[in-house]
């Protein structure tokens, strides 16, 4: 199985433009997450979804939005990109949230905002 796929692998984006990062999982996991990874800061949670149809804000949600129309897909949208959103973005999923279930991570999207 593919696990979690993310697209694109990398992207250079002009400030002010919008962009959607795609994430798809084939494990039928209920919970999905978006993290951003910045040097010296580890990974920080942007948004999460405990089940299809529900989403919630994480630690650093400003400037980002998500939707969860079905179990498999969890896209992350930047409505108007700013240089501070330059980062590596990871999508993850787990059987359910709030437990010690392993979070499985996608390969990441490297985004550069100029």
């Amino acid at each position: 199985t593919a696990g979690i796929t993310q697209a694109p692998t990398s992207q250079i984006l002009a400030a002010g433009r919008s962009m959607t990062l795609r994430c798809t999982q084939d494990m039928r996991h209920n919970a999905m997450y978006w993290y951003r990874q910045d040097l010296g800061l580890g990974l920080r949670l942007i948004h999460y979804s405990n089940t299809a149809g529900t989403t919630g804000k994480g630690e650093v949600p400003d400037g980002y939005s998500v939707s969860r129309a079905n179990t498999d897909d969890f896209p992350l949208t930047l409505a108007s990109a700013v240089p501070s959103q330059t980062s590596v973005y990871f999508c993850a999923s787990s059987v359910r949230s709030g437990a010690h279930n392993e979070q499985f991570f996608g390969p990441g999207t490297r985004l550069t905002v100029l």
């Binding site: 997450y33 580890g42 919630g56 010690h100 390969p107």
Partner: protein, 116 residues
């Protein structure tokens, strides 16, 4: 709020030797989970080992083991018989039990280089 601290930005070890990566955390919670994730140059995050705070026995997964000191809020990772494939960034992470957001709190990471 919980915090996770990894005080060793970089470490190196010779192949076949043992290395210990440090992690401390701060929390007022009594029930929680601790994890070590590995991120090789491929960027893929891989779970190495996990520990449930209510279990006193230290977790072990093949060459990887932890030293969990709950009172000291310390969670170190020991890698025995280091292999070249262990070269990676290692992240310590914390999750409160029952965390509805499923939020993992990560440390800053330790970059480990295994030298031949």
């Amino acid at each position: 709020a919980q915090t996770v601290t990894q005080s060793q930005p970089e470490m190196s070890v010779q192949e076949a030797e043992t290395v210990t990566l440090s992690c401390t955390y701060d929390t007022s919670e009594s029930n929680y989970y601790l994890f070590w994730y590995k991120q090789p140059p491929s960027r893929q995050m891989i779970l190495v080992i996990r520990q449930e705070a209510y279990k006193q026995q230290n977790a072990t997964e093949n060459r990887f083991s932890v030293n969990f000191q709950k009172a000291a809020k310390s969670f170190s990772l020991k890698i025995s018989d280091s292999q070249l494939g262990d070269t990676a960034m290692y992240f310590c992470a914390f999750m409160k039990r029952g965390e509805v957001r499923g939020k993992l709190i990560f440390g800053q990471g330790t970059e480990l280089s295994v030298k031949p």
